[in-house]
Symmetry: C2
DNA sequence: TAAGTTGGTCAATGTGGTTGTCCATATAGT
DNA sequence: ACTATATGGACAACCACATTGACCAACTTA
């Protein structure tokens, strides 16, 4: 004879979505640090992905990430200092400098992929395959198709 | 005779979680802007919540949000300029300045709550009550119990 | 009442973003 | 072929938002 539980307040859902994202990303970087990539930051994964296997230019990178070419250039500089990317000149166009992942960067990206898969496996163990698949389907239905259209940087400004 | 679909790569889940959060927050702020709160920023909701109905101090606010007291003080300043909060001195302790939401701030908070509920209603219409409840239960199972332990600011630094 | 703790503010600094400017190089139009 | 335009990259100045360090006034405790 118990009545149905009331709906939770609407603000719980977005908060849990963000919290779940945080949980996964924190776990990823804890594991990356253990595997020798302590310098990796949450943003870096997105940047590596935007660089892609064939490399790209700072201007194109800025476009993909939704920031100015100057901001992209500074990102590349710091990633270069950290040894994750390198810049080479384009023989076909003397203006362009191609940004490519170094072996170290490729390693970080490969490890990230493995760790993400492992974390998903943990979720499957705790929730069952059906619920994880259902979760992914539900989120797919409610989010833009293009996974990489996040425009993360600066999106969360305070003022 | 079709084989089962393969598991998606593990990185899709966190990305979709973040995307879903963005979708909701963007919708919230679009609606808030329509209702006269164009100055509201994603962070502000968290800050308002941390201030609470009884007000708090800059130091305590910094603790709750996981930032320095100076950073919290600056946040308060800008929110004060925007008319969302006011500072009054504590009669019981001449050092303390109590930060409280103004009527305008309370209005923004109340509207946010209503809009969040409305957005959840949209999800229910598109997905059905069962799936939304299932989503919330799943996320609840995988995230910390304390909803407000997010330590958002600066968490996503690039370097 | 002296000593320590706490709340608030000021100043200097670091990081990561912005726009504006400029130059070298490619590309298109006549 | 030459000029005009567009593009990639770099430099500078600036802004927003965080940090740490120092300091003072006011409360608390021994």
């Amino acid at each position: 004879m118990s009545s149905a539980p009331p709906d939770p307040p609407g603000f719980e859902l977005p908060l849990r979505l963000l919290l779940a994202f945080q949980v996964i990303i924190d776990e990823l970087h804890a594991e990356l640090a253990r595997e020798g990539h302590a310098a990796m930051r949450p943003m870096h994964g997105f940047v590596f992905q935007a660089i892609g296997p064939d490399g790209t230019t700072a201007v194109e990178l800025g476009r993909r990430l939704g920031v100015s070419k100057q901001a992209a250039g500074k990102m590349v500089e710091s990633l270069e200092r950290a040894g994750y990317v390198e810049r080479t000149s384009d023989p076909a166009d003397a203006r362009r400098k191609i940004v490519r992942l170094t072996a170290h960067g490729v390693d970080a990206l490969a490890r990230s992929a493995r760790i993400f898969d492992r974390i998903r496996g943990d979720w499957v163990r705790r929730l069952g395959s059906e619920r994880v698949r259902g979760l992914e389907e539900t989120l797919r239905a409610m989010t833009p198709q293009d996974l990489w259209r996040l425009d993360v940087p600066g999106w969360f400004g305070t003022s």
